[in-house]
Symmetry: C2
Subunit: 351 residues, 2 copies
């Protein structure tokens, strides 16, 4: 037995190598983080298991986050890898309750990428940064041989400042809290998949890719008691709810009829065999707020969140013992079913 099989906590016999699903945002991504990254880099920041780390610099709370973007195709209805790379990290900072300020950008370019494509992506990042109120202040470019990359991969990291006294984190969620989503779900994932599969609908499905810093700031400015925020990217609503229920030792009950999903998204999901509750969004969040603030919070999200279709979709309940079945969904016909973590690979290279 090598050192590795003796020490690595990932079941080596089951997973001798990395699968696409390890990057899908579901159960295997969770296993990779929990069993490989967390033990190696053990520190109190990482174990917050948040969309970013909350640091303190000279008495100022600061959020720090990063994401790499490997979406294919690079351009899609409603966005492109550049806008995604800016909004994705802006949103991760906003989910920490921070006001995003500064981004870095790292480009890994495949030799032969057309200069025009790079220019269009960079221009798109510039526009997205301006719209989100952030500045792109430092960067790096690497080029890899033809056939060793895929056009371009973009990494962004971001810094934001936290100007309130709330602890916005999964562990702050309490029984009784209301669960709100900021808009209709599933558009980003289905926009990408429709292009890849060559599906044509009467209405083109456009990605919901957008910055969420403004609606979060509006909630905070109105003194809403925000417990937790999470943007609904890889793994969709279901994975986010499961992670939060797990971390807060609660149960979450969702009413399927209340979850906004557009007709064309529902149609595309049916054709391609996806469940919209597992599909990635890039401009949608779930907010957990104190019960008394739910109505005001909903009105604020309807006024400030992209899409304008915010909805209250459920409540938090006291947690039980088992990890299994923490999130339940009352379906359209009244059946209650368990909403589990995404297992396996659903939508590869979605962001």
């Amino acid at each position: 037995m090598s050192d590795f099989t003796a020490t690595c906590p990932i079941p080596f016999a089951d997973y001798p190598s990395v699968l696409m699903a390890h990057g899908g945002g579901g159960r295997l991504t969770g296993q990779l983080i929990e069993k490989l990254f967390l033990p190696a880099f053990a520190n109190p920041f990482l174990s917050q298991q948040h969309d970013g780390a909350l640091l303190e610099i000279n008495g100022q709370r600061v959020a720090f986050s990063t994401d790499s973007y490997v979406v294919q195709p690079l351009f899609f209805p409603g966005g492109d890898i550049g806008a995604l790379a800016v909004n994705g990290t802006v949103n991760d900072l906003a989910m920490c309750g921070a006001r995003p300020l500064y981004l870095s950008a790292g480009f890994i370019i495949e030799e032969g990428l057309s200069m025009e494509t790079l220019w269009r992506i960079v221009q798109s990042m510039s526009r997205a940064a301006e719209a989100a109120g952030v500045q792109l202040v430092t960067g790096d470019t690497k080029v890899v041989d033809k056939g060793k990359g895929d056009g371009v991969f973009v990494n962004t990291a971001g810094i934001g400042i936290v100007d309130h006294r709330l602890t916005i984190a999964p562990a702050s969620v309490l029984p009784g809290d209301a669960v709100l989503v900021s808009g209709d779900l599933g558009r980003h994932g289905m926009a990408i998949m429709s292009v890849r599969e060559g599906l044509q609908f009467e209405t083109t499905i456009e990605s919901d890719c957008a910055p969420l810093a403004a609606p979060v700031q509006a909630l905070l400015d109105a003194d809403i008691r925000v417990r937790c925020l999470r943007d609904l990217t890889r793994g969709g609503l279901s994975s986010a709810l499961n992670e939060i229920a797990d971390a807060s030792h609660t149960r979450i009950e969702i009413d399927e009829r209340a979850v906004p999903v557009r007709e064309e998204v529902r149609g595309a999901c049916e054709i391609l065999g996806f469940d919209p509750l597992y599909v990635a969004n890039e401009g949608r969040l779930v907010a957990f707020v104190a019960p008394d603030d739910a109505e005001r919070a909903l009105a604020i999200l309807r006024a400030h969140a992209p899409g304008g279709e915010a909805a209250a979709i459920g409540f938090v309940q006291p947690g039980g013992g088992s990890r299994h079945g923490r999130v339940t969904l009352k379906s359209r016909i009244g059946v209650i079913r368990i909403l589990d973590m995404l297992t396996g690979e659903q939508l590869p290279r979605i962001c």
Copy 2:
């Protein structure tokens, strides 16, 4: 003429697509930054043209930097992509005169990478972070299809704090300043190239990959008037000197006999047709210091910098009008030659 050819300031006819040399750290990388990235993201932080951005958060000066790592092979004598990714960003922060504190890590993994390889890289990052005194506080993992990546690419971004009143930047360099290097040059690049080319020497050339935060802190603690620091990565000493001479409107004169290069590195360079002054290092810096502080600074670097072979290699002179010929080298036989920026692709995928 498309919008692109009309607006993009990169000469489109000459460079319709991205070449390996655009990532090599030489003239074409400079053109990409100056003509494509800077205009798109115009702001005062980027135009510092430093190894990172200097920000101010709640009255505290903070440095922020990022780099992606695409080195091949992933493991090489003296290091691996994990150690490189930690030390590289630690060093970029140190070159801003900052004390590195926090890193993010973004992994782009090619489907099929062995879990053992990933585990070894992550363990190496953990050890490097501990050695450099930084914490890895937030991260992200993406997986791309087999054949669309190359094992693994790692991005790190970092935050450090600046606890002194100096302005350490290319523009602070003054005529008369002494030019010091912190150790022998060319080992990282030649370690990688020797492996790739299958060269065998009596002594294996080991990469100089190491953190430079401690020697920088030692210079600052001793109140050395540090004008500018630069780690000698892609493009090597020559490219760094040219960039700094350009930004400070000075000329720099180097004495080749004073530049420390190990015998085996010189030999490998001769066999492979490289000039050690253009070869990448990953644990070496050039420091510009006030003339009166040069001797003390040299003693501090000899005591604290990895390698222990720090040397004073030249002086800064008043600048002339032309950009060309700003850096000159007095060779071993007394001939003075112009030391130009790296042109074209010298060492691909070195970091």
